[in-house]
């Protein structure tokens, strides 16, 4: 075995020598061939390489939860890729009207929106909404309506300020006559409207609350409009037109806070859209700064423009060729496999750095140009070869995982490493040969004495370093159980963005939670029994199904409504407005009301009422006073505005009331098709919707909700399930990939390295670095997630490569003072880590939390690796030499 390894190394060395000689002769050819290959690869990539952002596609379609999702989407396509428009207002009337108007307008854009759905709204619910209340609630509404009918009846005929105030006058008189009417809430509401008009604020009196006998709370009334936009996948931002259209419509319809409404957009599509926007925001600037930073570090680190140029050109060519390979082998990149570029840049430039710095070191030692090139190639080439063999094989070990993202990443990155090796052994030396040679005079001298001492620290304090490393290692191992994977995709998005804030608000309530579980059942019987089982789980708030749309106790409720229709009379049905009132009538009505209020303020009949009367009187007096100070046409406008505030919502509420009085018995067959098809398929399969009992913006809640529901119904599906199940697959895939990579790497190192102890020398600092990275992630509360987990292969690659280079240098060309840090290899390890930190660590400052977490993870990982390779490994090597000499 040892003999084999020695032969292999000797053979490699002599072949690399021949190779170097050949390069000097064929330098131009190599450059030409490289340029042609790069050009072809670029062309091929541009025309063949696609990117898809659908995370679902990263996972194998054969996984059971993927299959369940596919079945569900086929059965109910209207739930896929939706935009959720959240319409809010302080009154249910305004929220409902705004949502209805918006939905109605959106239906007129069938090219942009395949479905427009207004949950708990629309014509059907206007007509049958009251049947969904309990008999008791309905009876209460009915009694309340009977109580206010005398006033509502009059108001219906005269829906003007005059009508309202005349009605109030007669109501107040009725109270004086001993009628038990609760008028103070209404007086206060009217006062609110008057005050709002005085202040120039928007206000709308809620007739729905008055009709239903509810006193308004502070709560906001939410209505949702669920849209399914046509996504333009050919565009960079597929949902841009759809979202833009909604926003424009919202602006045209004046659905803004100045008009008492707030409209926000969220849902899967909006989240993805805003994520793209966040990611691209400032991306160019950050990109340029990063590039400048990396360039400066490289230029300073390499110390010569020739080396810089050759390295950058080699890396660029390699990146393009790897992309070409990706286009050829995979065709489409996903959010994980696109990280091959990160891996390539991170590791590819390292190869050039190692070669260049060794070359520079030789030049400084007065080796002639061609000789230095040859020496660098044969010396570093060997370790590059081993590096490539191990890292590429390591990445290839990702291929068998069930996570397409990781397996494709492994394939591309592994091949990328081979391409990088080939280019660094051909194009880089060819370029260096053709470029003007680096002169010794231009090379920085060896470091100062003090620097030399610093660089010697790992040797002089080897024992301390190793003890410290051991201690840190033990602490790290103790911290490692705290490592966890955060599968919540919301955490990867800008928490300040509208879609994320709104989504989280919706998650707080079970009725609005966009994360709910859907179960597809074969028929009504199965649906019912499963619903009963699921409702017994404490993690489940309730289970919705089409059954929920068949109201209970219909006979009783219909009787209540039949009575009600009679009691409130036929006025609403006829919608007859008999009175035509003008400015003078309205003004007189205000004054009449003021007179009546005057009487109430002085009487001490009912404290609440007289207080409310006093407040309204003050408000109205102020209103008349302010109005008197304006021009005549202004007065007209002011009075009309007050009228609009008070009565604007009335017609629609009367219409709804009228519609709801004509409700008919509801059966499955009489439900509108739009509603039915959201719950039952043509072939009779039923959909169940499981609503969470606890808010799902908490990972533990989400996980428990999903696992418990799955235990009852294994084919449960939808985002919540996919999030949890996919995270498990991703974590498993990464664990499998990294473990098998490490195994393969260990095996290869055992085969290729001259001494068995060398394997330990390479691997122990690497394991320590891995432990440190995990421990730091725990300490800094930086969980692994879909974005930063791709930093791990890079950290592993850098670690393995650095270790191999250091050990190789120790075995092949250890300087007389035995300080590895002082060698070009030490500098190369430092420089390559530094460039990686500058390029990808800078992502830590990204606006995009996902990218930022990857930047942070890389910074931690690369720093830990650098420390282990540059401090711990040299100390280890020194102790190894010492023990070797001792024995």
């Amino acid at each position: 075995m040892l003999q084999y390894r020695a032969d292999f190394r000797a053979g490699l060395h002599s072949r690399l020598g021949c190779w170097a000689d050949w390069i000097t002769r064929a330098a131009w050819w190599i450059v030409i061939v490289a340029v042609l290959l790069t050009g072809f690869s670029l062309y091929y990539t541009v025309h063949n390489l696609g990117i898809h952002t659908d995370t679902g596609k990263m996972l194998s379609p054969d996984l059971s939860f993927q299959q369940a999702l596919r079945d569900y989407r086929q059965a109910f396509p209207q739930y896929t890729d939706t935009l959720v428009v959240v319409v809010e207002s302080s009154t249910p009337d305004r929220a409902g009207d705004a949502a209805a108007t918006l939905a109605q307008r959106l239906t007129q854009e069938p090219d942009l929106f395949t479905t427009v759905y207004l949950p708990y709204g629309g014509k059907y619910l206007d007509e049958h909404g009251l049947l969904y209340l309990s008999s008791d609630e309905l009876q209460k509404i009915s009694d309340n309506l009977a109580a206010i009918q005398p006033f509502l009846g009059k108001l219906t005929r005269d829906q003007s300020l005059h009508g309202l105030f005349a009605m109030l006058v007669s109501a107040l008189e009725a109270v004086q006559d001993g009628e038990p009417l609760e008028l103070s809430p209404l007086l206060d509401k009217i006062n609110e409207a008057v005050r709002a008009n005085l202040a120039g604020h928007y206000y709308q009196l809620s007739w729905q609350e008055l009709i239903h006998g509810k006193t308004a709370g502070e709560e906001t009334h939410k209505r949702l409009v669920i849209l399914q936009p046509q996504l333009e996948y050919s565009q960079l931002q597929p949902a841009k037109t759809a979202i833009h259209t909604v926003r424009e419509l919202v602006r045209d319809l004046r659905l803004d806070p100045a008009h008492g409404v707030r409209v926000r957009i969220t849902g899967k599509v909006a989240l993805a859209h805003e994520e793209l926007q966040t990611a691209s925001r400032g991306a160019l600037m950050t990109g340029l700064i990063t590039l400048a930073l990396v360039g400066t570090v490289l230029l300073v680190g390499l110390g010569s423009w020739q080396l810089f140029l050759a390295s950058v050109l080699t890396m660029t060519a390699g990146l393009i060729m790897t992309a070409g390979f990706a286009a050829f082998a995979v065709g489409e990149l996903n959010l994980i496999s696109i990280a091959f570029a990160v891996l390539y840049i991170g590791l590819g430039i390292d190869y050039s750095i190692h070669l260049s710095l060794r070359y520079l070191e030789l030049i400084r030692d007065s080796t002639p140009h061609a000789e230095a090139l040859r020496e660098a190639l044969t010396g570093v080439g060997g370790s590059l070869f081993i590096c490539t063999l191990t890292t590429a094989t390591g990445f290839y070990a990702f291929v068998p995982t069930s996570f397409a993202g990781v397996s494709e990443l492994g394939l591309i990155a592994g091949t990328g490493m081979i391409i990088s090796l080939l280019l660094n052994l051909s194009l880089l030396p060819a370029l260096l040969f053709l470029l003007p040679p680096v002169r010794k005079g231009n090379v920085q001298p060896r470091h100062s004495r003090i620097m030399g001492k610093v660089l010697g620290l790992p040797r002089t304090h080897a024992r301390t370093v190793l003890w410290a490393a051991l201690t840190v290692g033990v602490v790290a191992v103790l911290l490692l159980p705290g490592v966890h994977f955060d599968f919540n995709p919301l955490h990867l998005r800008d928490p300040q963005s509208e879609s994320v804030i709104t989504f989280r608000e919706l998650l707080e309530s079970s009725t609005t939670s966009p994360w709910r579980i859907t179960v597809l059942t074969d028929d009504a019987v199965q649906a019912n029994s499963l619903a009963t089982q699921l409702e017994q789980l404490d993690v489940v708030d309730r289970v919705h199904s089409i059954e929920q749309f068949i109201p209970a106790d219909q006979a009783e409720k219909l009787l209540i409504l039949k009575d009600l229709a009679l009691i409130v009379g036929a006025e609403f049905e006829l919608q007859q407005i008999t009175a035509m009132t003008g400015f003078n009538d309205n003004l007189k009505a205000v004054k009449d009301l003021l007179e009546t209020l005057d009487r109430f303020v002085t009487t001490d009949q009912d404290r609440d009422l007289s207080d409310a009367a006093a407040r309204l009187r003050r408000g109205l007096k102020q209103f008349l006073y302010d109005m008197a100070a304006t021009e005549a046409y202004q007065q007209d406008i002011q009075l009309s505005e007050l009228e609009e505030s008070l009565l604007g919502a009335l017609p629609r509420q009367l219409h709804r009331l009228d519609a709801s009085l004509n409700a008919r018995a509801v059966k499955l067959e009489t439900l509108p098709n739009e509603l039915l098809t959201r719950w039952v398929t043509d072939d009779g399969r039923y959909r169940l919707e499981v609503l969470p009992a606890r808010p799902l913006d908490n990972d533990a809640n989400l996980r428990e909700f999903v696992t418990r529901v799955q235990s009852v119904s294994p084919n449960a599906t939808e985002s919540a399930v996919v999030n949890v199940a996919a995270s498990q697959v991703v974590v498993d895939a990464f664990i499998q990939a990294l473990t098998s990579a490490m195994l393969v790497i260990t095996l290869l190192l055992l085969l290729l390295l001259p001494d068995k102890s060398d394997v330990l020398l390479v691997l122990s600092p690497l394991l320590l670095a891995a432990g440190l990275t995990g421990a730091m992630a725990v300490l800094l509360h930086l969980p692994f997630n879909y974005a930063n987990v791709i930093a791990l292969p890079l950290i592993m690659g850098v670690g393995v490569d650095s270790g191999i280079h250091m050990v190789h240098r120790f075995r092949s060309a250890l300087p007389s003072n035995r300080d590895l840090l002082g060698t070009s290899t030490g500098r190369a390890v430092a420089l390559s880590s530094l460039t990686t930190l500058c390029s990808f660590g800078s992502l830590a400052f990204s606006m995009h939390p996902g990218a930022a977490s990857m930047g942070k993870m890389l910074t931690i990982g690369i720093t830990a690796t650098m420390l282990c390779m540059l401090v711990v490994l040299p100390a280890l090597i020194y102790r190894h030499i010492q023990s070797g000499t001792a024995s």
Binding site: Q139, A147, P150, G153, L566, I567, A570, E571, E573
Partner: protein, 214 residues
């Protein structure tokens, strides 16, 4: 005085009185109304009856008007249904005797109210404005009452078919629903008290109407 004797009748011979009334209600339609009356005809019959009673108001006196109104109202209105709807929520909690007691008082109160209100002729006349079929098999007849020296009042009658005959079940005067007023008044009493209390209150009103005249 009349009030007192009536109250005595109810408390002492409640069952007999009820029986008598039930017979009266069933007997009336055959005498007073045409089988094929249209909703508008029912309303017109009621209104011309009222005009006639008003014209003779003084000579008839309260009890005379009461006697004339009783058959007229029972044959044009579905008083049992109106009474039932007015206390719908509590209706299902009452037993048969209570229901009969309540309906009896309710019918008397209705007649008494008319007898007390239509007590003078002031050149009133009714005019038919419009009619229209409503949902739930109901029919709307819109009329207008014109009086001397005051604004006309719009009276809308809602009728339904009861045993093949159109009967009034609600009247809406200038938008104000009679049934709504009754429902909220009776509910207010029943929510805090029991049926006995409501019956006492209603009887009190009947007595007041009767007493007013004397």
């Amino acid at each position: 005085m009349l009030g007192k004797s009536r109250q005595g009748c109810i408390t002492r011979h409640r069952v007999e009185c009820c029986l008598l009334l039930v017979i009266a209600v069933f007997a009336q339609p055959c005498v007073a109304s045409d089988v094929a009356e249209t909703p508008a005809q029912v309303v017109t019959r009621l209104q011309s009856g009222l005009i006639g009673i008003m014209k003779e108001a003084d000579s008839l006196g309260y009890s005379g008007r009461y006697q004339r109104l009783q058959p007229l109202l029972t044959s044009t209105h579905d008083l049992d249904i109106i009474g039932q709807i007015a206390i719908r929520r509590h209706w299902k909690m009452l037993d048969d005797v209570q229901r009969a007691d309540y309906l009896d008082t309710f019918r008397k109160l209705t007649v008494a109210t008319y007898a007390s209100r239509f007590n003078r002729f002031n050149d009133q006349y009714f005019g038919l404005l419009d009619q229209k079929a409503l949902s739930h098999g109901r029919h709307l007849v819109k009329t207008q009452l014109t009086r001397k020296n005051s604004e006309p009042v719009q009276l809308d009658y809602i009728l339904h078919l009861s045993g093949g005959r159109w009967r009034i079940i609600n009247i809406i005067a200038d938008g104000v629903s009679d049934l709504a007023i009754k429902r909220s008044q009776y509910n207010a009493v029943m929510n805090d008290h029991d049926l006995e209390y409501l019956l006492d209150k209603l009887q009190q009103k009947i007595d007041d109407y009767a007493a007013d005249i004397h």
